[in-house]
């Protein structure tokens, strides 16, 4: 009984909304999840903002990843010896 109540509660929580917002970035929501998501979206300002933030984070992460910068330390680079070795291997 307690588990059922927990499940029911979880369905309407902001945490569940953000889980679905995260999933929505990669695949379409269907069925009950979609309706629950839309209902919560209509009533919760914080969750609407969080959804926009997650979209921005995803877009920006993709941009950084395409540039090859995500997680990179700008001060690191190939050593001269490594560059020479690679050039030699290409010839």
């Amino acid at each position: 009984m307690l588990n059922q109540i927990k499940k029911c509660w979880h369905f309407f929580t902001c945490e569940r909304y953000t889980e679905l917002a995260s999933q929505e970035l990669d695949q379409k929501l269907c069925g009950l999840d979609r309706w629950g998501f839309l209902f919560h979206h209509a009533i919760c300002t914080f969750c609407r903002r969080s959804r926009r933030q997650l979209k921005v984070i995803e877009k920006a992460s993709l941009k950084l990843d395409l540039e090859g910068s995500l997680g990179a330390n700008e001060s690191q680079g190939l050593s001269e010896a490594a560059k020479q070795r690679i050039k030699q291997s290409l010839h």
Partner: protein, 242 residues
Amino acid sequence: MSKVDESFVSFLHRIVYAFMEHAQSIAPGASICLYGGVSENVKKQDEVDGASSLNSGLEREMDPDQWVDRYGDRLYKYALARVREASLAEDLVQETFLSAVKAYGDFEGRSAVKTWLLTILKNKIIDHYRKVKRQGEAVSLDSDTDTHTAGMTLGIWNTFVHNWASNPDELVEGQEFLGALNECFRKLPDRYKKLFQVKLADDLSTEEICNLFDISASNYWVLLHRIRMQLRQCLDKNWYAK
């Protein structure tokens, strides 16, 4: 840009590229850059001495030594951020250049050389993860005992959720925001970084990623959610609040 627009641009690019190849064969004096039309400076130079600096742009792009000097550092940083070992990262970069030299004939120029090289490198890294997994070493994520979602208590927000910007697209272009995001990403646990980076690489389906890390689909979505919420909270504290 919609898919129709992208297809149209790609079609135009093919026509321009075919024209450039044809022009090269009939008019060696014409100077043409591989990735654009005929640049003004190159046209002038061509008018003055009729020389074939024609292929100067092409030759530069085709010269592997130029690739190493121009893109080597970027590729190395990308690889190092993922594999965490300097020598392995160097090997992956070397393999990337070797593959690129072999495959250059197939390169259609639809993307920049840097993007193309990064794509090859991403695939090399994913192959490395697969090899490590086949050898039975730990590519898989540690079992995630952390059940807390950043910013929430009992499923409800325990913090004020700010409105970051009226125009979110501007944020994505802002260097300050991107720098802060990069810093927040570097603070994530290694297991989260690996999963997120493999997911962003976009070459693997959800099923393949789950296979690679030995996790279920539902666990995958939960982990992605936690990663994104941690990044959100970090950005809120370290970028927005400042």
